[in-house]
Symmetry: D2
Subunit: 318 residues, 4 copies
């Protein structure tokens, strides 16, 4: 059982953060024109190996249903309307069609989505050192979400921190260190390997289901997530993609003057496929039944030119 | 080589159509409350077997890029806007975020999407005999797209009709019969089996790439696709899902007084997961390289309550 | 000074409500095909007379700024995005254009809007006895907002209830009777006449500015507004249009089993041009300076076919 | 009758254009912080005088109905959906509400709208010399459409060029000079005065109604409108606002290397309230009946913070 001490984020200065940024930085690693980042870790062998994890033929969604109700964690609710329903007076032979419409500002704490590598700038730079002017008011000129068009396909490993701690969920503001991730590996008898897709569970969505939504921002209660230091472990293990419930990092930040340091490290420094706001409540039941925390993952963003990210519905296959 | 005669749809009366509807009707087959339709054909064994098709570790998108430009086949272009780009005057340590927004009426001939079982009513009924009043102006009360939340995972088989015919694409208005599908099977040395995901290529998107968009509707040139009769073959083979380029059926219809008869048969009668407007131009290259037209398919609609369908990005894995 | 007793809505049974509905009902008054309702009261003479009220040449907006921030009274915030900003690297001669986009579900408590006569059905009927099937899932077939295309032009009279009561605003749940409207007339030395546009102030927006937003619904604190009985007075005076701050009626309703009875009476029974969520905070200052509560009003909804209402910016001219 | 020679735009070099820009430039005229531009010309006296033009009590819309159908001049159609229609099974006493939703990228050739002063940058500057960095990807920091919140109220003068020329409409590419505007004044016996609202008719919408839409852009047939030189006349006359059918200027441009020179002159140099895509087909009938081309105009943009313009429905009152 991890000690409570780990849950209190240790402080980090801006200078320490910049040193950490350097340590995990992948700029140039895959060439000056690379737009794939850590997805480069996933080789064909990894995909082939991932498919061998499909043993019982079950598939599970890791998406939260699209939410059209405003709330403290959903200030930009999705808009969903019918374009047309049926004319119930008409039962003639001509088929009728029901149509609908969706509008969404999807980078929110309630919308399951993936971020593109152009989504974050730090000190004026994007991943791989590209200038932030590569993103214009009409959209990004490079590293948009279509670089992930063929999807993220690989071995998924779920690290379930509430399970490790023996709690239903982590409380807002609690942080998970790299050390605790390793404890979770041991407790679950799995090990993150190069090219893996890390699914990171804090129980965020479980808490939301049971207690209702809360303000997850800096002006509210915050949320549980990774400690900045944990990025060192993800970097060393060469994790390819990061899919958390919540948005993956503890809020408030433990770094002086840097809000969302984990996002900056993941996306800007490491070039990692970072996702937001998944839910693992259906997945954990299957994991417990299957007694395993590894499976095949297929996660395909919409093929949206100019997207700084995308709504998506990532699937785990057992 | 299939004869040209097959490309001219034979006429069908409304009464003949209704008999065909009866023949392929799956109402009640999986119980009165079923909302999964032909996806019931996909068993865990099928999913497990599909994963064994992953031999070279390649993944390929089958989605058309989201299209924001109005045109004769895109009268409802998607709207994509930046919510914010970067403040290029600011290069301080605080990370900056680029955000965007998507709005789409996605049931169009240019948007790669999947239809929910509530999408079509015929003679006042939805699949499984449900009344069309189950779809209200606020959305469907049952059989919305969330019934497919766990995705379509299975064995994909591509039947490439232009390859069979030795042409670049089928011309608008040409029809493909069940017999010709069987010819394609033989030519490609594959066979559709129970629970398969059928990918049906007419070369629609290839034609669009080379000649530009055209009016695909009844008031225009129409499009190539399945002949209504072909649904008998799909029914007998117990195909689970249908993913065409174009929207899968020939326009104009060969059925008197019934526009879009294939859609009515697939969705309303058979309860089939029917999709629209995929593209296989990247896929066919991989198929030719791999010398096989079967692979694993993972296709996950957005988890959108009330959706009569969804944008999606279906993935083939070799 | 009106007594506190008036502020507590007296109870009304559903049967009493139906009798009130009959009393104020204008169905057939302007013929079976009428779609203008009480705007018929505004004759050319009224418009001409209204223009003579323009004596000092001042114009004042009565709209609340469009609100893109979700809150307890704004669960469907407007979405406003830039389509493009400027390319600041480019200072050549070619003019550049900044463009934007607005999306809004405008019938909300935070969006200044006007209702079309098709906006409300009571017991299955719309204004003038039209069946509610005249509104389909694709939009209304009659009495949409384009019937008001030429705008509401007339004599505006502001009745300022907080001024009468000597308070800054009315509290949520307080009700204003027809008798109190008459008291306000006397206190302000104006009188509502046939064809007038009634601007009705409860101080709703003043309260919002000073105390912040609150939940205005039945599950919240409610709002101040007219008592159902007041519609008798409006009916007898032949008021042409009703423009309140808030949405004009007290919540919760004082009628058993009828939420929003004032809306039903105004729109469905009377065929009145009813508006929502204006603000008079700039107007009252001008009124006090001018020492008059009558002026010209010009209020033009967007010319939106199928609109059940419209965003608008009504203008008072002194 | 104006000679055909006038309809062929004379050529202008970029240097000549810059001299013209200087001649009509109002930067600093109303102080360094001015955001109202030529609306400053409208004094209270002008508004009072405008109201005296209301003699017969008729009001007329000058807006084109909002257009949801894509076409060669409407590549970004408006999206209008019902949020809910009525439940026709329910005829109980509880009132029902029909609700809708509008989404629009309104700066198009088919959407009647007004431009804000921040809408155009020329050589890196906005009106009054403000830097174009005042418009960010999140919206303008100054001179947005809310500066016009109190509406444009004044004397409208319609100059009807097809009437002058004895044609139904001007053909695309034809240009109208200041001299021809003066001819129209004489023919109609009106004279533009300081603070007037100029309504400028080319018959654009009449042509569209009769011949259908056409491509109005540089890559199409273009449109009829003002010659750049005409801005001198508007400047000298101190016109306050400009409301054309079409978008007011001839396309293609007669200025070398400057597309949309009239827009640049009006908005950036002069600070004029410039509008787009009105229609005067209802108005001209009333003008002919009334035998006058002057009237009161009230035009109120939506009060939209950050708007670079707004949909609106301008009203003429006789």
């Amino acid at each position: 059982m991890s000690s409570r001490a780990k849950t209190t984020p240790s402080h980090m200065t801006a200078a320490e953060f910049d040193r950490l940024f350097e340590k995990v930085c992948n700029w140039g690693r895959w060439g000056p024109d690379d737009q794939l980042g850590t997805l480069n870790y996933i080789t064909r062998d990894h995909i082939r190996a991932a498919a061998t994890l499909v043993r019982t033929g079950r598939s599970v969604s890791m998406a939260v249903p699209i939410n059209t109700v405003a709330g403290p964690d959903n200030p930009r609710p999705a808009f969903h309307y019918m374009v047309q329903a049926y004319d119930t007076q008409n039962t003639h032979t001509e088929p009728q069609f029901a149509l609908d419409y969706l509008a969404c500002e999807f980078h929110g704490d309630c919308h399951t989505h993936i971020d593109a590598l152009c989504h974050i700038a730090y000190r004026g730079k994007l991943y791989n050192g590209k200038p932030m002017t590569a993103v214009t008011s009409r959209g990004p000129l490079s590293m948009d979400i279509t670089t992930y068009a063929n999807g993220i396909v690989g071995r998924g490993v779920l690290l379930d921190i509430p399970r490790l701690r023996g709690v239903k969920w982590l409380e807002p503001g609690e942080a998970v260190t790299g050390e605790e991730l390793e404890e979770a590996e041991k407790a679950q008898d799995v090990r993150l390997r190069e090219g893996d897709v890390l699914l990171f569970r804090t129980g965020h969505h479980r808490r939301r289901l049971e207690l209702g939504p809360w303000n997850v921002g800096y002006d509210g209660e915050g949320k549980a997530g990774l400690h900045s230091d944990a990025m060192l472990m993800l970097h060393e293990r060469r994790v390819a993609a990061f899919l958390p419930d919540g948005d993956g990092e503890t809020v408030p930040s433990n770094v002086e003057g840097v809000a969302y340091p984990v996002h900056a490290l993941q996306i800007c420094a490491m070039g990692m496929a970072a996702c937001d706001s998944l839910q693992f409540e259906e997945l954990v039941k299957v994991c417990e039944e299957e007694k395993r925390w590894e499976f095949m993952v297929v996660a395909a963003p919409l093929r949206m030119p100019g997207g700084t990210g995308s709504l998506f519905n990532p699937i785990a296959i057992f």
